[in-house]
């Protein structure tokens, strides 16, 4: 493909504008976190400071919200990953006639606005706990976890399903044939096979939960998570402490991503080493085998 110079310039211009649009706001926010004025300001730079980070960590509400968010994220992972796993396994086994209905039901939360999920969760559990005498369950944390689990489980299911469809059933049969019971096959064969997908599902579940606002703001009731505290702060007025929070989040994620990249490179290198070993063994074997008499 050889685009003309005009096209090339146009495309370059477009790319620059696109990324300016995409990254500009982030850069602006990042710079304002280190600038001294009370109101988030990029230019002029009156002076560099880390005060806003200090202010952020001194903010009691933010810190309680952060703890709550981490806590909820963890619970959502514990609930959504097993549900997503079960959902994916059922998807591969369910009768074709019912499959599309089942799919519709379990994927619908992905296509439902978050606030509706939050509202319906609160409405249902208020009635349900009231009528069954389990009022103690009508709690911000429980409702938030359940509400978020509805669509996060669907994300998890889609991730796990993609890997499950590549599962070789003869692995399962081999284990059975060697005397394993079904739960043993599940624990020893299927789960290890799905481990990478389960790990990515867990990470995605945690991140989705941690940054969720729409569902949480309804379901959390009188409690507070980082996002709901943040929303309150932002509505009250702009302070560079909020920019500082964004910088911290990006920094933490970058560190996580780099750590993952290093881990992945190591795993890839190990896999490549194994592949080389197999090739060498193969060559040695072919060279070493005596040619048997034909016929």
């Amino acid at each position: 493909m050889i685009p003309g110079p005009f096209q090339r310039v146009m495309f370059a211009l477009y790319t620059v504008i696109f990324f300016l649009y995409l990254l500009g706001p982030l850069v602006v926010m990042g710079v304002s976190a280190f600038n001294t004025p009370q109101y988030p300001q990029v230019w002029p730079i009156d002076g560099l400071t880390l005060d806003w980070f200090a202010a952020l960590f001194a903010d009691q509400d933010m810190m309680t919200g952060l703890k709550m968010s981490l806590w909820i994220g963890l619970l959502v992972v514990c609930i959504s990953v097993p549900i997503g796993l079960a959902g994916a396994i059922i998807m591969t086994q369910i009768q074709p006639r019912v499959r599309s209905l089942y799919y519709l039901v379990v994927v619908s939360p992905v296509l439902t606005p978050g606030i509706i999920i939050g509202i319906s969760t609160v409405v249902f559990w208020r009635q349900f706990t009231g009528q069954t005498g389990t009022r103690f369950l009508y709690d911000g944390v429980v409702l938030t976890v359940l509400g978020q689990a509805s669509f996060i489980s669907a994300y998890c299911m889609l991730i796990i399903l993609a890997r499950l469809q590549r599962f070789d059933r003869s692995q399962e049969e081999a284990a059975l044939d060697l005397g394993a019971s079904y739960p043993q096959v599940f624990r020893h064969i299927l789960l290890p096979f799905l481990k990478p997908a389960l790990a990515s599902a867990a990470v995605l579940a945690f991140l989705s939960s941690f940054e969720n606002y729409n569902t949480t703001t309804f379901a959390i009731l009188s409690d507070k998570t980082l996002t709901t505290v943040l929303a309150g702060r932002v509505r009250q007025g702009s302070t560079p402490a909020i920019s500082a929070l964004a910088v911290v989040i990006v920094a933490v994620t970058v560190i996580g991503a780099i750590a993952f990249e290093i881990y992945k490179r190591r795993a890839d290198a190990a896999a490549a080493r194994r592949q080389r070993a197999a090739l060498e063994a193969e060559e040695a074997e072919l060279a070493g085998t005596p040619t048997p008499a034909m016929g």
């Binding site: 493909m1 602006v28 296509l111």
Partner: protein
């Protein structure tokens, strides 16, 4: 709080204990394989599958939705009267959406109706704009970018989405506020003498909304275009097809599922966005979700809020159906 924690920890714990108990039981008894569900999975795993999916499908997805729809047809009553003789099905909440309070003199509830249609209309517009913005880049990434450049582009794309929606909206507020860098630039260059009130004019809101969900458009597009054989495009070019022809008759039809998927997601997220309108909207901003929110936590009229939420849900479902119909696709093809 303690009781509830016991519940969310206790439930999985109970399931795990049950699982191991059944495993031990099954190890002692060989259970035949066969076509049946429990025969195929074994009792323990089978039970886990059924319970997990059953709880999810019914208690987390279906029943709450039903409860919300049910509530939307009930009057607002003090808790003592719930389930009492006055708790009858009514269309009052939907009537309110159209005509407003019975004491108001206006003929229609213009504020809410306008907010609703504005929300839907702007969401559709933002969906289209996002498609237009993302398509060239998605095509470039999928069809002509080198591997190294692709990695950089993907990283740059994901970067802004590591911070949450509220912070993304906040970034726009910093950018567009009257003392923000855009106004500084405009005034510095002499284009205007007074700062432009981007936020009050809702420019900030619309930009923020479009910005917030760019990624939801670009990734489905990229995935769909990526599966198109590069040779097909090359061949068309060799045959002398003009560039617009290649896109209209080769790339776009191939990317149909990705386009539908991206559009559905962006529309749904935009129409249901709550953070951006709260952060970027001014006092006069019309957006439907804050109105729904206020039904619950300002007016304390839950049935009415449920009705409003249901109206929003129905319009989202309609949108998905229209998209599916227009693209002649099934649901499974767009949720990959």
């Amino acid at each position: 709080m303690n009781g509830s924690l016991a519940f969310i920890f206790g439930l999985p714990l109970a399931v795990v204990v049950l699982f191991f108990a059944l495993s031990a039981y099954e190890r002692r008894r060989g259970i035949a394989t066969g076509p049946g569900f429990f025969q195929r999975n074994g009792l323990a795993v089978g039970l886990y599958l059924v319970l997990a999916v059953g709880f999810w499908a019914f208690f987390i997805i279906l029943l709450p939705q039903l409860a919300m729809v049910d509530m939307s047809f009930r009057p607002k009553l003090p808790p003592a009267q719930m389930g009492g003789p006055k708790d009858l099905y009514t269309l009052e909440n939907y009537r309110y959406f159209l005509f407003g309070s019975t004491t108001s003199t206006a003929e229609w509830n213009w504020l809410h109706i306008k907010a609703f249609f504005l929300t839907i209309g702007v969401s559709i517009l933002i969906t289209l704009i996002n498609f237009a913005i993302c398509y060239p880049l998605a095509f470039h990434m999928a069809q002509s970018a080198s591997a190294a450049r692709l990695r950089v582009l993907l990283l740059l794309l994901i970067l802004p989405y590591w911070v949450n929606e509220i912070l993304r909206a906040f970034a726009f507020r910093v950018l567009l506020s009257s003392g923000g860098i855009i106004n500084q630039l405009l005034m510095g260059s002499g284009l205007t003498h007074e700062p432009i009130d981007f936020l009050g004019a809702d420019v900030g809101l619309y930009m923020g909304l479009s910005y917030a969900y760019l990624l939801m458009m670009i990734f489905p597009l990229y995935n769909a275009i990526e599966s198109l054989d590069r040779n097909q495009v090359e061949a068309a070019r060799d045959l002398g097809a003009p560039w617009w022809h290649i896109h209209a008759f080769i790339v776009l039809p191939h990317a149909k599922p990705g386009i539908a998927s991206g559009c559905t997601l962006v529309f749904m997220l935009t129409a249901g966005a709550l953070a951006a309108p709260l952060v970027l909207g001014g006092p006069r901003t019309l957006w439907f979700t804050p109105i729904v929110y206020d039904r619950f936590y300002q007016a304390f009229n839950w049935p009415q809020g449920a009705a409003y939420a249901f109206i929003l849900l129905v319009s989202c479902i309609l949108f998905v159906l229209v998209v599916l119909k227009a693209f002649r696709l099934s649901l499974g093809e767009i949720t990959r």
